[in-house]
Amino acid sequence: MSEKDLQKTENTAATERIRNVKTFLPRVDIYETKDALFLIADMPGVDEQTVDVELEKNILTISGRVENGRVQDYSLVFSEYEVGDYERSFTLSDEIDKDKIKATVRQGVLRLELPKAEKVKPKKIAINAA
């Protein structure tokens, strides 16, 4: 593991927030099974209230809002990581059944199940004899 891998990557492409916070790219694992794609994103500090999954056309955007990460009444004396929001987008292929996407959040990890769409069956058109 190199040093670069250990640090959070800032998402410089994300739209700037009104709140003055940095936006980071959550790290993701994606794997494929016969029926679905699974996307697992590390977003420490978010819960089901503060995470958002949006699908517009075929762009899937995951974002999370994180409270400032301060410990009340304490002062920071040593720091190795920064706290900020998360945002990342992926382009989905048409194979995904968009209505059946499932999302869960547990201990700062967002888990998405993206089921593959059943192949559109060719419709047979009956021709009536005139």
Partner: protein, 146 residues
């Protein structure tokens, strides 16, 4: 050499957060020199109030049973294992960026802490450890006899 020696930071404790940001950036710059960075996972932030320390760290998706925290004198050790989803044969990872596997980190604290009174909380993937200073280790006020 560039490990977390928080006493070196203590002189900055009352200063503006920007100084701490600068310190972090400088540490980042030098940390690739000489020592393996793998031992620096997970990254920690250390907070202080009077005679109490709080260590926070981001450990997303862990099972609390898989996190081990121990304190020996003035050294805090955090270790554990994060597991990946078991995938079946024929299934493939298209992308694998998350930190998985074993980790262990020793953090040198600025004073001895009361190991009995250490508390840890794990919420939303963030581990927060509260470490009160050991009473015997508190600075003693010396009375001057006239």
């Amino acid at each position: 050499m560039f490990g977390p020696g928080i006493w070196r930071m203590k002189r900055f404790a009352d200063s503006v957060p920007e100084i701490i940001d600068l310190q972090r950036e400088i540490n980042k710059l030098f940390s690739s020199v000489g020592q393996g960075a793998a031992s620096d996972y997970p990254a920690v932030n250390v907070w202080e109030k009077e005679n109490r320390l709080v260590v926070t760290t981001e450990l997303p998706g862990m099972d609390p049973d898989n996190i081990n925290i121990s304190v020996t004198g003035a050294v805090l050790t955090i270790s554990g294992t994060s597991k990946s989803d078991p995938i079946k044969e024929g299934e493939t990872y298209l992308r694998q960026e998350r930190e998985l596997g074993n980790f262990q980190r020793n953090i040198q604290l600025p004073y001895q802490v009361d190991a009995q009174a250490v508390e840890a909380k794990y919420e939303r993937g963030i581990l927060k450890i509260t470490l009160p200073r050991q009473k015997e280790d508190l600075p003693k006020k010396i009375k001057i006899n006239l």
